[in-house]
């Protein structure tokens, strides 16, 4: 299973990158600073700690996913390290899937580490363990997986700067695509509506993964929402990876 070597090398490359540690420790710093912000705030301290801590983990994991992902394939081509890989008996599909799984593993490890530290920190602060936090991190992981697949897609044909702009833009739009359903009645012509519908379905709907309010306020998350999120992730990532493979199969390394 030679693609495993690509997975492990991608992980090794990411964790030997200073930017990874910088983002990871900044994330932890903000997690711990949530306690100070909680002390300075009037009201439910636990809610503030959860609010700030979860938002910090979310923000820094997104940054890790984007800034590691955008370099993933482009750097291999730019530095010509890909020559020795693709001249071995390994297919281009295996290379791309290996890269995707490698970055997924990297981001998964970063998220799991931050989540573990945050949960321990919360248990020490409040004296109770909240299992619903695990659901939040699972949803966040699925959202990050979508983001990784998008950054990998752009990295397969674009430069890191353009890839980061595209990925960040799509991430931000993905947070608000759900609002389209509220104003699409404003579109008068059928053609405009069809075109906007196409764009709507092409862009990810990342709102499906946002369960922060439910977790912070302690309200239950419907099992249906979780199943829809899982199904949507599998389908969306599958489509993006397929597009990436189609592009990468045709790439030439001059």
């Amino acid at each position: 299973m030679n693609w495993k070597a690509i997975v492990l090398n991608t992980l090794k490359e990411a964790i030997r990158n200073k930017i990874f540690y910088l983002l990871f420790f900044f994330g932890l710093f903000f997690v711990f600073s949530s306690r100070i912000i909680g002390l300075l705030t009037i009201g439910d301290q636990t809610k503030v700690i959860k609010d700030v801590g979860l938002a910090s983990i979310n923000f820094f994991c997104v940054l890790i996913a984007i800034f590691t992902g955008i370099n993933l394939v482009h750097k291999e081509i730019d530095k010509k390290t890909i020559y020795t890989i693709l001249s071995k008996p390994i297919s281009r599909d295996q290379f791309i899937l290996g890269k995707f799984l490698g970055l997924l593993l990297t981001v998964g490890i970063a998220l799991a580490s931050m989540a573990t530290i945050f949960i321990l920190f919360l248990v020490l602060t409040t004296g109770k363990f909240e299992a619903s936090l695990l659901l939040y991190f699972l949803m966040l992981f699925m959202e990050l997986a979508i983001l990784i697949s998008i950054s990998l897609l752009f990295s397969s044909f674009s430069t890191p700067i353009l890839s980061s702009i595209f990925t960040i833009t799509i991430y931000l739009i993905g947070q608000i695509t759900w609002t389209y359903n509220h104003f699409k009645y404003l579109l008068k012509t059928p053609l405009t509506r069809v075109l906007t519908d196409v764009v709507y379905y092409l862009l990810p709907n990342l709102h499906k993964y946002n369960v922060k309010n439910e977790i912070v306020l302690g309200t239950p998350v419907a099992i249906g929402q979780l199943l829809v999120a899982v199904g949507y992730s599998v389908l969306y990532i599958g489509c993006i990876l397929f597009a990436t493979l189609m592009i990468f199969r045709k790439r030439e390394f001059q």
């Binding site: 070597a5 390290t81 020795t84 030439e252």
Partner: protein, 306 residues
């Protein structure tokens, strides 16, 4: 001997965009390499050497033609089991050490841990990097990277070694060591296909050469055959004869280190001149046939005067 690499009517045009016109890099080249041969692929910069090699290794898709490696088409992933490849000016993951890099490549080749460990030790010793296996590649010089690149190309002990400009970046000692490695691999029955623009290196080691100019093969064949038909003239060194007498025998000569050096042109009778020198009391020190060098042939193909 069987053909291990066959390239037939290979064509490649780099696509154009709005600013750059399309560029025909290969205009239909054909050659074959026999098992156990050292095949030198010669050409000036931009002639199409690297494009050909990238087509063979599957990094570029040709527009037309076929490539067969041990009978398998180049576009079959399994065909890449037959060769090891050293790219031109290799750059590897600089965060890995030499042994980690070889381990990574070994895993890509589905080699077991013990195989990789054993083979890495052998190869690092062979390429002169023994004891440097735990140094990160970012601290390696260009020559050292070339050596570690050679080691990775030989990792699975492939039947064919494809080396793109393997001598560039190496000092004279490194070049001698590389030549020795190539000869040793040939002794073991391996086939070596390499590109170079360093003519002396090609002339010293190649059994067969192809000269590629502007995307097509201008000349190819056994090196011995290419050079054997091309005795251009003779160089005669004489002594113990007066300059005046020698001028009557042959007009063109120079005096150097106490001897006269006559360089005969095409069509001049060497025997007659030797006899005249002896008849007039001179002594022949040496008569050397001057053959065309690979450089002469190369420059001739490029349409340039040496």
């Amino acid at each position: 001997m069987s053909k291990v690499l066959e390239v037939i009517d290979l064509k490649k045009t780099y696509r154009s965009n709005f600013l750059i016109k399309s560029f025909p890099a290969l205009t239909g080249i054909s050659f074959s390499v026999e098992q156990g041969d050292i095949y030198g692929f010669l050409g000036p910069n931009g002639a199409g050497k690297t494009t050909t090699i990238k087509c063979i290794t599957g990094l570029i898709k040709p527009n037309a033609g076929s490539i067969r490696i041990n009978g398998e088409s180049y576009d079959q992933v399994s065909s890449r089991r037959h060769f090891g490849y050293l790219p031109e000016s290799p750059y590897f993951y600089d965060y890995l050490t030499a042994s980690e890099f070889l381990f990574f490549n070994g895993r890509l080749l589905n080699m077991s841990m013990s195989q990789i460990t054993e083979r890495s030790r052998e190869l690092l010793k062979l390429v002169g990097l023994a004891g440097k296996d735990s140094i990160p590649l970012r601290k390696f010089s260009k020559g050292m990277l070339q050596r570690v690149g050679l080691a990775q190309s030989m990792l699975q002990d492939p039947g064919i070694l494809i080396l793109d400009e393997p001598f560039s970046g190496l000092d004279p000692v490194g070049r001698k060591e590389l030549r020795d490695i190539i000869f040793a691999e040939k002794e073991r029955g391996k086939t070596i296909f390499f590109s170079s623009h360093i003519l002396q290196d090609v002339e010293m080691i190649a059994d067969e050469v192809a000269i590629i100019v502007k995307g097509s093969i201008a000349r190819q064949g056994k090196l011995s055959e290419l050079l054997s038909h091309t005795i251009e003239n003779h160089e005669i060194v004489v002594t113990e004869i007066s300059e005046k007498m020698l001028a009557e025998i042959h007009s063109g000569f120079i005096f150097k280190d106490g001897h006269y050096l006559l360089r005969l042109g095409l069509g001049e009778n060497t025997n007659e001149i030797v006899e005249s020198v002896i008849h007039n009391g001179g002594r022949i020190v040496s008569v050397t046939p001057i053959k065309k060098t690979l450089e002469d042939i190369f420059l001739q193909e490029l349409g340039e005067e040496k």
